[in-house]
Chain length 122, copies 4
DNA sequence: GTGGTCTAGACCACT
DNA sequence: GTGGTCTAGACCACT
């Protein structure tokens, strides 16, 4: 379910935050659902709990989650707008990626094949 | 020609290095061509010369370029294999991006539209 | 243990890198051992931390070591091939040195005495 | 006759200077012999004439050669002491090289073979 | 003018 | 405390 790329130059806390946003967008975590505990995720990824904490702080700042003292972090309600904004960002970033490929003369056909393969595997 | 994304979490030196690799792959810089000088690029991007130097050091380590003392940095010959490897990496990273979009239920149609738009603009 | 020759025309960062390679080859540092921290070595040699960092960057590029964020630099596994390659280089460089001496008419006997002395002192 | 290692981290002007010293020590250039012209060597090594000039300046400073205005550079007389000093330095540097090899557990036998080979080829 | 190396100092991410 | 990145500034070797 989680998919943290440690080879990325993204800071680990951002990798985690972005991952959780995707799980919220695709409905894995619904409004008012409890998110995994800091301890659980820090064990899962073999990283320090402060790093997971920082990821949750980031999500709280961005308006995705809220804490309940002593209980954990929970998904906020009415985040459709945030989700749409996030999708828009991901599509823009996708478009940049496609432009990159076009600039180095990758054929459109090669791109279509990759996209078709992924969507037919679903 | 250059396209440095300062909003990226990539270190600036990697943004520069990756940018130059793309310009080598698409043939803007041919084998034995002289690359822009460290001082020129540091002025162009308003960054410290050591950062550009680090980018060129990275490209040298990866086998893309070589220095001539007092003359500048030049593109190596016989880098077809490096270029292919780099293209392969970019396509893999593209596939990951598409998988991300599929996981958050972006419709294939939306993706196809973006790709079509970019390739028809070319 | 460390033996940095500041009189050498080698850049300081290479002196450090080469020194550490020798300590890896002779087994002082084993795979997955933690290397001295950048700050420790920069204090030890009274040089700037960036210079030690550059030495470690060099070793990382050459495939000898890897970093763990917040923990330090560690010796890689499966570096036998690298070690053999490095030994080969040192023996080639040694052969060049001997040729130099032969060319200026140093007697073989003088060379043998030096070699014998060093190996009997071990 | 000349043997300039451009891969060395030695500055090129020092490589040239050291090379000429060896040619003086082994008698290729005798006292009062004229050394090759700056123009000749800069063509031979495909380098700028200033670099050769710098090498000759170095040799002049070290007491090996003297200039005659409009005629060129010549080997000094009575440089036996300098030659001995230089030989001593080369032997010390050779001894360091051997110590290096001993420290990385190169067998004495391997060293002896290299030395024997080079001296029997002479 | 061009790259190579180094210092002093700063701030960030992660432990 | 540990590595990673960056700035500002300096001096060197080579053209």
């Amino acid at each position: 379910m989680f998919n943290i790329d440690t080879k990325s130059t993204n800071p680990v806390y951002l990798e985690i935050a972005n991952n959780i946003i995707k799980l919220i967008i695709n409905g894995t975590y619904q409004p008012n659902d409890k998110l995994p505990s800091i301890r659980y995720l820090s064990n899962l990824f073999s990283i320090n709990h402060n790093t997971v904490n920082r990821a949750y702080l980031e999500l709280e700042h961005r308006g995705y989650i809220y804490p309940i003292q002593g209980k954990g972090m929970f998904v906020k309600e009415n985040i459709e707008e945030l989700n749409d904004e996030e999708k828009r960002k991901l599509l823009l970033s996708f478009a940049d990626k496609v432009k990159e490929l076009a600039e180095i003369s990758i054929e459109k056909q090669e791109i279509d094949e990759i996209v078709n393969k992924i969507y037919s595997d679903k």
